[in-house]
Symmetry: C3
Subunit: 433 residues, 3 copies
């Protein structure tokens, strides 16, 4: 099996290793996750103390849990957190008590619309406890005096996030942002993490890149807010564009949600690529409902960050349930997603603006061996390479980039880039820096 | 019967009282009309002497008429102005003469396309006399020596217009402009007058308004030109927007004709409202043919004034004939029209721009009791109120107004305004002034 | 036969006289062509020495040819350049040699897709020789030892182009550009030349023009580059707009290819005209593939120059073959094309911006005898001339030109121009200069 065929499998294997960990926005699950990632690629971890202020927010205490069970009066274990860490609402407090079914139900969260799946729930900022269970399972529970036991701690500690960085000595950087706070769900959160890890490896192999690359692995919302808080003075200047990577391993068509501005270069590049494919949904406008783009695109930052998923969060039925599992995400979907991210990188890197030192009239192409020497026959008879060069020479005006030339001419960006090389070598055009 | 159900009746009653008066651009008819209006709402009347210059125009002499008749040679009265003041062309000069039918016909105006109705005609600025009669009636007149008698005067006097003003101590004002120069026609001219009177009463009851309100009752064209002449130095600065109110009592769908600029806030507000209704015609671009918007939108003023009618002038068959009568205008149409004008006022008043003192990232909504504390479930599970607040917080950027947020989010302006209140109270957003 | 009916015949007659000449980018053919043109209209010829540098290009040596033949071994002449000067590739070098059919074929150019026609070919900048022959003709050539004779010279001399100028003492000029380098083809190149000649005559008769007119007759590409080189310091300032005139005598619908900028006044004028006709193709965006617009619209110049053809170059099957002949171009097509160019000139000349010294409210039109004095009846009853004047008066705002008023009002530019005249005479509006 070739390496390239193998990549999807490698990504899925990493995902399977990460899947069982009980992650939340702080605690051991985050550390275990970062430890596995650090085995794959070099990362730098940042810790922020509990109770620290990050903008309007306060970092919560660390939450760790060792046990969470419901037993019948006869001692039978009917729910055990060790079977599925979604059973316990994230940040649940300790409890050790017996109670009637009706009292227990005040602490049970179900989703009647998806009755056989465990729903995912959290209560990060208010003390509370709950079990999350399939609606049909709860329906069958007998009236009984249940013994409920949760062993959990909330203690001062740290919130942690990590960055991997590819330094190409560039002035600006591209950010790929994924989140590491979700417990056992495969597509939401984890698919973005394994895509980021593999993308880091692939981009590291590329030469002559114009941008640095930063990969952020942070708890959603509070982690990203912490990252932004720590970089608030520089990020507006340093970022070229960013993408939130999540929900990228299912079979759905690709979905792009634009930056808040909507007309950034990353929006143009992805629009260019989506127009040439048939596995993409219509592009969505920005909205302040969603994932970490809510923070990147808050009015004080308004960064050029979009979201690139397959089925977008909230819009597939397995979302935020136990059905978002290792079968829902497949090797081949991960692989095609990785290829798309790489294509974006390559086209973004290829895009540039040219200018000419002698911009009057066409150059005499024959002199440079860049044109057929037997003329006549008209436009249709000029070979495509010559046509591409004519387009580039005419729009080597210090203003028009290859993306726009692509739109005008119908030739794609990488083809135009290739056609430009001989023009650059002959000093007929120069790259605007 | 409730007050609100009663409003249409009240409006129609006032209209019926105004209908029989023989109005023109000057004279007793105008004074009688303003006298009735002054009984309803407080107005301030402005007089301009005949022969005064207002821009390129000269105020004409006052015209008053006491008698206008056509009798047969045997003394039978066949046409009497007292039966319908449309019979006499406005500003007709005196005549007392007998003449053949063919000579009389040189002074008869008919409308063959609407053969049973009296057409409306005027000759304000050139001495002339004429009777306006149904085409079918004139066809049946026998050859005879007719006695024609018109007792009319054109003497130096005044042109008069009146203003009602609601002072909310605001910097800018909203203008509702109607005209009082048309004789017995109900939809054209008068429906706008009674709508203005009632709108004055309704707006007077509203609290915490951001604008002052001015209601102009003026003879069309020359009266409005006089008003503009008297306010030429201030109106460009003081006016927030204006609407010409006329033809607003028939059963036709609503018609909005945009301001000359076409993208003023009033255009945006009405577009927003029309999009949510099914009783509206497609919005029309400005044209310099029409009513008093011709003056407001002349290039020297170019004011943000639109026209809001039901069937627009010139586009319903009863227009400018005796068929534009008290049956053509109905209570319920007047009432719904009033409601629409009030809705415009409310949405215009509600629209505003917010900003945040800490615009980085989202605020921690839980702290302010503004968000469900149990998370998860994604975008679809966030209740609508939370979604509205997210939209407002993201676009509290000192640039985007509620109208634009409404367009982006799909939530309507008044709903968003309501959702913003708790954010304002918690000092999470501030209103740009 | 009236003169106007005769014009098409005159144009075709001139075309027939020019057709047989063996033109190329230099040499006797060019001089003979200019000599005939100079008999029709006054031209000024500019000569540039061989080897001169014009921007990136070098003027080639003059090419002249006296004989070009292929004979069989038995002495039979199978191809003679005197029969059709397309038989010889332009700028072929001398040869006098016998060779096998297979060796000869290395110097034969055919076009299999148009097998019965002679294709047109050139090799201006590389020494080479070739015959251009119908594919079906070549297929039938017997194996033989052919005697090939070309008597041609490439010697230092001149490249020549000519200009005709109509001086209206204006600040800016309009350029009509045609090319004179193609041998016996009628639609491509020559139809543009005869249209230019006749257009010169017609425009010379017009009075009170706002622009000067320049007609360029130059070898395509290198000639136009030479013209631009000689005028590089002034042309950007002096040119109002330009049109490349070619392929304008066939039966195809009209085709307009926009300026590089795409929103110049000439683009707006032609869009206006095309919208009112049914013999026009959809307007094309600029592309850097085509004729002399490639030079005019190179980034260093970026002049407001479009291309107006019937079937555009490269898009009709006779293009660049012997089938582009005197039958392919017809009198009546030439005549309608001339009319279209003249209409463009007239509308462009008519277009202007007005302003008012008293821009507040409407003028009192009755005072100037410019309005019906009996009012009423509304918008529909205002006659069209009054409506046109209302449009002009409202948009006499020192910003809006007649073209835009035309678009807003639906009245065409020349009608509006006519309606404006009385307003100008009455000093109600003034032309912005």
């Amino acid at each position: 099996m070739k390496y390239s065929q193998n990549i999807g499998k490698l990504m899925h294997k990493l995902l399977s290793e990460l899947f069982p960990i009980n992650r939340s926005i702080t605690g051991k699950g985050v550390r275990d996750t970062l430890s596995i990632i650090s085995r794959e690629i070099p990362i730098k971890t940042t810790k922020i103390k509990s109770k620290s202020k990050v903008f309007d927010w306060t970092i919560p205490d660390e939450w760790n849990v060792t046990e969470a069970k419901i037993c019948t009066s006869s001692g039978e274990v009917v729910v055990d957190f060790l079977d599925n860490n979604l059973y316990l609402m994230s940040y649940s407090t300790s409890v050790d008590s017996s109670m009637s079914l009706s009292d227990l139900k005040k602490h049970i969260i179900t989703d009647k619309s998806r009755p056989n799946w465990v729903p995912y729930s959290t209560s990060y900022y208010e003390d509370n406890w709950a079990f999350c269970l399939p609606y049909n399972f709860v329906k069958k529970l007998n009236d009984d005096n249940y013994q409920v036991k949760i062993e959990a701690t909330k203690k001062s500690g740290h919130l942690e996030y990590a960055e991997a960085f590819i330094n190409n000595n560039a002035k600006k950087e591209i950010l790929i942002s994924s989140y590491i706070c979700h417990p056992s769900m495969a597509n939401d959160s984890l698919s973005g993490v394994v895509l980021s890890v593999q993308l880091f490896k692939e981009i590291s192999k590329l030469k002559n890149l114009n941008y640095n690359y930063r990969f952020l692995f942070a708890p959603e919302t509070i982690g990203t807010i912490s990252f932004l808080y720590n970089n608030k003075k520089t990020i507006k200047k340093s970022i070229e564009f960013g993408l939130v990577a999540t929900c990228i391993g299912d079979k759905g068509k690709f979905t792009y949600k634009k930056t808040r501005n909507g007309i950034c270069n990353i929006d143009r590049v992805i629009n260019h690529i989506f127009n040439g494919r048939n596995d993409c949904n219509p592009i969505l406008d920005f909205s302040p409902l969603g994932s970490d783009e809510r923070q990147y695109c808050s009015p004080g930052f308004d960064l050029p960050v979009g979201v690139l998923t397959r089925s977008i969060f909230g819009k597939f039925k397995e979302y935020h349930t136990s059905a978002d599992n290792l079968e829902f995400v497949k090797d081949e979907y991960l692989k095609v997603s990785l290829d798309l991210y790489l294509e974006i990188v390559k086209i973004y890197e290829a895009n540039c603006i040219f200018y000419r030192k002698e911009p009057h009239c066409e150059p005499q192409m024959g002199k440079y061996d860049l044109y057929r020497t037997i003329g006549g026959g008209g436009e249709d008879n000029i070979n495509e390479l010559s046509q591409q060069r004519m387009w580039i020479l005419n729009y080597a005006d210090n203003e028009t980039d290859l993306l726009e030339i692509s739109q005008k001419s119908g030739f794609d960006v990488l083809t135009l880039k290739h056609a430009s090389e001989a023009l650059v070598e002959n000093k007929l055009i120069f790259k605007k820096i």
